[in-house]
C-alpha cells in the first residue's frame, strides 16, 4: 500500500538532500516568509513545506497531479484534516508502547506487536470508513487512487484475517514448532507452525493422547520447581516464535511507515492550504499556473506579485504583467526603488511555487518548467569574509556553474557590480553569453549601463528589456515597462527626495 499523493508512482522522500542552491534561493527569494505561512507554527509542517518547495519537480505531469490533489484539499479541508489527525494519533499511540530495551525477547516483541497491531487495525478501520463515505467528493487522480486502494485492500475479509492472526498469536493452545537436527544433534531451523485447531483446542490434550491418536508422540513435563527447566523451555519457545515476532514487528513498522508517509504527504497540502488562506486574507490573488514543457520558451503572466513581500507587509502589493514568450534574456534596468528586485523575486518565487505543484501569486501564469531555479544576488558585505566582495561573487558564480544545467532559470540581481563598471560589464557579458549558449534562461537586474546597453545594441531577437517605470514627475509605479536601458538610474530623484525637497525646482537633468 502506497500513499502516492505527491507522485503518481513514487514516494515522497523527506530525507532527500536539498539541491545545492537551496540556501541561496531561500535567502534571495525570501522563502522563509512562505515557509512560516505554510507551517502555521507547526514544526513538522514547516519541515515538509521547506523540503517540498525546494525539491522542485521538473515534469509537467507531476505538477499537474499535485495541483489536482491540492484542489481537492482546498475543497475538502475538514476531511483531509481528519485523515491527518488519525495518522498523528496512531504515531503517538505507537510510541506509547514502550520497548523493554535491548534485551527484548521474541516473546516480548511479539506481545508488544500484537498490542500495537490492535491499535493500528482500529485506525485503519477509521480510514476505510472515510474512504467509503467521502471518496465521491474527491476529484483528483491522486485521491481517487488512494481511496480505492483503501477500499480494495482493507476489506472486511482482510480485517477478519488480521483478527484471526491476532487471536492465534496469543497462543492459547500452545506453540507448535518444527525443527531439524544440526551440528551436535542440536535443534536447528526452528519454525513456527500453524497447528490443526484440534491439536490446540480445548480438548487437545485428550484428543492427542495415545488413547485417541494412533500417531506416535512423546510428552515430558517440566517439574514444578525446575526453574532452570522453565527458563530453557521459554528459550526454546522464543527460538520458535523468533521469525513470527520479527514478521509482526516489521509489519507494524510498515503500517507505521505507511501512516507516516501519509502524514508527510498530507502535510505539504495542509501547508499549501495555510498559505492560501493567508494570501486570500490579505486580498492577494492566486491561480493555478499552467506548466508547459521545458524548451517551449513560454513565460507569460498577469498580475504577478511577490508573495513573500505580501506576507510580510500584511497587505496587497502591486503586480506586473509581462509576456516574455520566446525570450531567453530579460534585462531589467531603471529607477532606484522602482521595484526591480521585488519583480525579480516574484519571478523566481512563482517559478519555485509552480514547480512544487502549488498555486502562484498572480492572476494568470503560464511558463515552461525549468531544470532548476538559481539566484545570484548582490550580497551585503560580510565583515567575517576572508575574500573580497568581488571574489566572493565570482566564487558563488562558480558554485552555480557547477550545478546548473540547460533549461534552468537564473536570476541575477546587480551581479558583478563590486568592481568598476567596465570590468564588471565585461565579465557579465562573458558569463551571460556562455550561459545563453548553454540554453539557460536569464533575468538580469543591473545598473551597469555599459553591460545593459551593449546587450541592447546587439539587437538580440531573444532578449527583452524592461525598465522600472518612472513617471516624468519622478514618482515610481513599481511596474515594469518595456524599454531601452537608460544611462541613469535616477539616483538624483532619491537624493532630492531625501535632501532637498524644497529646492526641487532648481535641479537640472543629469548628463
Amino acid at each position: 500500500m502506497k500513499v502516492h499523493l505527491m507522485f503518481r508512482e513514487q514516494d515522497f522522500d523527506l530525507q532527500q538532500p536539498l539541491p545545492p542552491q537551496a540556501d541561496a534561493l531561500t535567502q534571495d527569494l525570501g522563502l522563509e516568509a512562505l515557509f512560516t505561512a505554510m507551517a502555521a507554527e507547526d514544526k513538522f509542517l514547516r519541515e515538509v513545506a521547506q523540503k517540498a518547495v525546494l525539491l522542485s519537480v521538473a515534469d509537467v505531469a507531476t505538477i499537474t497531479y499535485r495541483q489536482h490533489v491540492l484542489q481537492d484539499c482546498l475543497a475538502n479541508a475538514a476531511i483531509v484534516q481528519k485523515i491527518y489527525d488519525i495518522c498523528i494519533e496512531c504515531m503517538q499511540n505507537e510510541r506509547r508502547h514502550f520497548w523493554g530495551g535491548l534485551s527484548s525477547s521474541p516473546g516480548m516483541i511479539l506481545y508488544r506487536s500484537v498490542e500495537v497491531l490492535h491499535m493500528f487495525v482500529e485506525n485503519l478501520r477509521k480510514l476505510k470508513k472515510i474512504a467509503d463515505t467521502e471518496a465521491a467528493n474527491f476529484k483528483s487522480g491522486g485521491f481517487r487512487r488512494f481511496f480505492s486502494m483503501l477500499q480494495e485492500e482493507l476489506t472486511e475479509a482482510y480485517f477478519a484475517e488480521v483478527q484471526d492472526h491476532l487471536k492465534r498469536l496469543r497462543f492459547k493452545g500452545g506453540v507448535l514448532i518444527s525443527a531439524e537436527l544440526g551440528r551436535g544433534n542440536k535443534g536447528v531451523n526452528y519454525t513456527l507452525r500453524r497447528p490443526d485447531d484440534r491439536e490446540v483446542g480445548w480438548f487437545a490434550p485428550i484428543l492427542s493422547s495415545p488413547i485417541f491418536s494412533h500417531k506416535p508422540s512423546y510428552t515430558f513435563h517440566i517439574a514444578d520447581r525446575d526453574e532452570a527447566g522453565f527458563r530453557a523451555l521459554s528459550e526454546l519457545r522464543d527460538k520458535g516464535i523468533n521469525l513470527a515476532a520479527n514478521a509482526l514487528a516489521r509489519s507494524n513498522d510498515h503500517i507505521l511507515s505507511f501512516l507516516s508517509a501519509l502524514r508527510t504527504e498530507l502535510a505539504f497540502y495542509i501547508g499549501c492550504r495555510n498559505l492560501h488562506r493567508q494570501l486570500t486574507d490579505r486580498g492577494g490573488a492566486s491561480c493555478f499556473p499552467t506548466p508547459l514543457a521545458a524548451g517551449t520558451r513560454r513565460h507569460d503572466f498577469r498580475g504577478l506579485y511577490d508573495a513573500a513581500l505580501a506576507l510580510s507587509m500584511h497587505r496587497t502589493v502591486s503586480g506586473n504583467d509581462v509576456n516574455a514568450d520566446g525570450k531567453d534574456l530579460i534585462i531589467i534596468t531603471g529607477a532606484n526603488q522602482g521595484g526591480k528586485s521585488t519583480f525579480l523575486r516574484s519571478v523566481g518565487l512563482a517559478q519555485v511555487m509552480m514547480q512544487c505543484g502549488m498555486f502562484v501569486p498572480a492572476q494568470a501564469f503560464q511558463a515552461e518548467v525549468r531544470s532548476g531555479t538559481f539566484t545570484h544576488f548582490k550580497r551585503e558585505e560580510d565583515a567575517g569574509m576572508h575574500s573580497g566582495k568581488f571574489d566572493e561573487e565570482l566564487s558563488r558564480m562558480s558554485g552555480i556553474i557547477d550545478h546548473i544545467r540547460p533549461e534552468a532559470l537564473l536570476l541575477f540581481n546587480e551581479s558583478f557590480a563590486a568592481t568598476n563598471e567596465r570590468e564588471g560589464s565585461e565579465i557579465a557579458r562573458q558569463i551571460v553569453g556562455a550561459l545563453l549558449d548553454a540554453k539557460v534562461r536569464i533575468f538580469f537586474v543591473t545598473h551597469q549601463f555599459d553591460f545593459a546597453h551593449s546587450m541592447y545594441d546587439k539587437n538580440l531577437p531573444d532578449a527583452l528589456f524592461l525598465r522600472a517605470e518612472r513617471r516624468s514627475d519622478g514618482t515610481r509605479t513599481f511596474r515594469m515597462i518595456g524599454g531601452e536601458p537608460l544611462d541613469t538610474s535616477y539616483g538624483e530623484d532619491l537624493y532630492r527626495k531625501i535632501f532637498a525637497p524644497a529646492e526641487a525646482h532648481e535641479t537640472q537633468e543629469v548628463p
Binding site: G173, R194, E199, S217, N242, H254
Partner: protein, 511 residues
C-alpha cells in the same frame, strides 16, 4: 619398502632414541631462540625433540632435503596445510565429544570427527596424487595412502558415516509447548506460520525494515530440556539412533598410526619453512648445503646468524652477511678485531650452519658446503657465579679439558674469548696450548680471541678480522674479512678521523 616416517627414511633404528633435552650448545649458539620461536607456534605437535636429534647419515640428510624441496612447492605445501587443518579439527571435535554430557551429542561429534578424518585422508591422497612429488618421503606416503584409502576397512567406514549422517539430516520433528508440557511428534505438513503472518501484512511494506530477530547465544552443549526433546526424537527414530550408537562403539580407534605420525612429523618441515619464510621475504637467501662426512672443505657465501636475522628483520634493520671458506689443510678460523664488530655473530653463524645442516634443513646463505660432524662443542664466556668454588679461569680450563677429551677428528668446536680473565702472556700461552690440541685432532672450529698471535701458529689457521666504518668507528658493520690480523687498519681510521695521523699532526703542530 613400507612407508613409516616423513622424517627418517629408515625407521628409527633400535637403540637410537630421540633426545628429550636440548644439546649443550643450544644456548651458546642462540639456537634455543630459533627452536623456541619455531615450536611455540606449533605446541600441539611437540616438535622440540625433532630439533634435538641430529642426523649422522648423508642419505638421511638427502631424504629430508627432498621432502623439504617438495614442500617448497606451494601446491604441495597447501595440501599438507589443509590436511593439518583437518587433523586439528579432528582433535578438536574428539575433545568436544569427550567434554559433552549427553550421549547423542557425544556420538554426533565423534561421528563428525571420523567423517572429517576420512575426508582429510582422502583429500590428501587425491592432492598428492595430482601433485608433482619427487621426494622419497612423499612418494612413499602417497603409495601408503593409496593402499590405505582403498582398504576394505577405510571404505566401510566412509559408507557407514554417509548412511548415518544422511538419515540424521533427513529427520524433521515437531514439538508443541503447552504450559509445562512438551509433546514431540512427527511433522504433518503444518504450514509455516511466520510466512503466513508476513504474507498478511505484506501489503503495507514500504521498503527496507528493521530486523527484529533476536540472536541467541549458540552453545555447543544442551540444556536438559533440549536433551529431553532429543531423547524423544531418538525414540521416534529408533533405528537411526541405534546406528549412531553402534558406530560410536565400533570405531573408537579409527586413526591410522602412520597417518597420525605423518601429521605430526611433517610439521617439522612446515615449521622451519614458515620460520625462514619471513626472512626470505625480507630478501635473505637460503640454500641446501652440500654435506660431507669426509671432506673438511667448508664454504659459505652470504651466511648469517638466523636468530639475529629474525630480530633484525622484525626491527626492519639490515642483516649483514659474511662469506667464509676453509680449503685444503685449513681447519680453524681465528676471529679477531674490534669489539661489537660481529665476531661472536660470526662464530654463531659457523655453528648454526653446521647444526642446521645436520638437521637436514636449508641453511642461511647463497651457497654452502658443510661438514656432517659427530659432535658440536661450544665454549662461550659465562657469567661468574659467586657460589663457584673455582676461579673463572679454572672453570674455563676444566670445561675446555672436558671438550677436548670427548672431541674426535669429526667434531666441531666453537670457542669464544676463552682467556679474557688472565694476563696477556698467560692468555697467549694457554691459547697456544689449546690450539695445538685442536689442530692435532684435525677438528674444524672457530676461535674468537683478542690474542692475534694465535693466527700465525699454523697454515691450518685462517684469520678473519672484524671491521668498522672508518669515518664512524661507533657504527657496526658486522662484516668480517679474511686477512692477517695486524691490529692497525682500525686504529688508523680513527686517527684520521681525529686528525691524529702523522701527516695531520705535523700540519697541526707546524702551525
Amino acid at each position: 619398502m613400507k612407508f613409516e616416517s616423513i622424517l627418517f627414511e629408515n625407521a628409527l633404528p633400535p637403540g637410537r632414541s630421540s633426545r628429550q633435552a636440548a644439546p649443550d650448545f643450544f644456548t651458546d649458539l642462540n639456537i634455543d631462540q630459533i627452536v623456541g620461536a619455531l615450536t611455540a607456534a606449533k605446541q600441539e605437535y611437540d616438535l622440540a625433540t625433532f630439533f634435538y636429534t641430529l642426523l649422522s647419515d648423508i642419505e638421511e640428510v638427502a631424504y629430508r632435503h627432498e621432502v623439504m624441496q617438495d614442500l617448497e612447492d606451494d601446491k604441495i605445501r597447501s595440501q599438507v596445510n589443509a590436511f593439518a587443518q583437518t587433523m586439528r579439527q579432528v582433535r578438536q571435535e574428539l575433545a568436544q565429544s569427550g567434554k559433552l554430557y549427553y550421549r547423542y551429542q557425544k556420538q554426533w561429534w565423534f561421528l563428525d570427527a571420523v567423517d572429517v578424518y576420512c575426508r582429510g585422508v582422502q583429500s590428501l591422497r587425491d592432492g598428492l596424487g595430482s601433485a608433482a612429488v619427487r621426494s622419497r618421503g612423499f612418494t612413499g606416503l602417497r603409495a601408503y595412502l593409496d593402499q590405505y584409502a582403498a582398504s576394505e576397512h577405510f571404505l566401510m567406514l566412509g559408507q557407514e558415516i554417509a548412511q548415518v549422517k544422511s538419515e540424521l539430516s533427513e529427520i524433521r520433528y515437531c514439538f508443541l509447548i503447552r504450559g509445562s508440557a512438551v509433546t514431540v511428534r512427527h511433522c504433518e505438513d503444518e504450514p509455516n506460520y511466520s510466512v503466513e503472518v508476513e504474507k498478511t501484512f505484506e501489503k503495507f511494506s514500504q521498503g527496507e525494515a528493521r530486523d527484529y530477530r533476536v540472536k541467541f547465544h549458540d552453545t555447543v552443549d544442551m540444556d536438559h530440556v533440549e536433551a529431553n526433546v532429543l531423547e524423544c526424537v531418538a525414540r521416534l527414530h529408533e533405528d537411526t539412533f541405534e546406528k549412531l550408537e553402534r558406530f560410536w562403539n565400533a570405531h573408537q580407534d579409527f586413526q591410522d598410526e602412520v597417518v597420525r605420525r605423518f601429521d605430526r612429523e611433517v610439521q617439522f618441515y612446515i615449521g622451519y619453512l614458515e620460520f625462514i619464510g619471513d626472512l626470505k621475504q625480507a630478501g635473505l637467501p637460503f640454500c641446501y648445503p652440500r654435506v660431507s662426512r669426509t671432506s673438511k672443505d667448508i664454504v659459505s657465501r652470504e651466511g648469517f646468524d638466523l636468530a639475529l636475522a629474525r630480530k633484525l628483520v622484525a626491527e626492519k634493520a639490515p642483516v649483514i652477511r659474511n662469506d667464509f671458506a676453509l680449503t685444503g689443510r685449513e681447519r680453524v678460523f681465528i676471529v679477531s678485531g674490534p669489539n661489537q664488530g660481529g665476531k661472536t655473530t660470526f662464530a654463531r653463524t659457523f655453528g648454526q650452519l653446521h647444526y642446521l645442516a645436520a638437521l637436514g634443513c636449508p641453511v642461511p646463505g647463497r651457497e654452502a658446503q658443510l661438514f656432517l660432524f659427530d659432535r658440536l662443542f661450544t665454549h662461550f664466556e659465562r657469567e661468574e657465579k659467586v657460589t663457584d668454588l673455582r676461579s673463572k679461569l679454572e672453570n674455563d680450563l676444566v670445561r675446555l679439558h672436558d671438550i677436548l677429551r670427548h672431541a674426535t677428528p669429526d667434531s666441531i668446536v666453537v670457542l669464544n674469548e676463552s682467556f679474557g680473565s688472565t694476563t696477556l702472556k698467560d692468555a697467549i700461552f694457554l691459547g697456544r696450548q689449546i690450539m695445538e690440541r685442536v689442530l692435532k685432532l684435525d677438528m674444524l672450529g672457530v676461535y674468537v680471541t683478542f690474542v692475534t698471535e694465535l693466527a700465525s701458529m699454523s697454515d691450518k689457521i685462517v684469520s678473519m678480522v672484524s671491521t668498522v666504518v672508518p669515518d664512524n668507528p661507533a657504527e657496526r658493520t658486522y662484516r668480517l674479512i679474511r686477512r692477517p690480523s695486524d691490529g692497525r687498519a682500525y686504529a688508523i681510521s680513527i686517527a684520521e678521523k681525529y686528525r691524529l695521523t702523522d701527516e695531520a699532526l705535523r700540519e697541526r703542530l707546524a702551525s
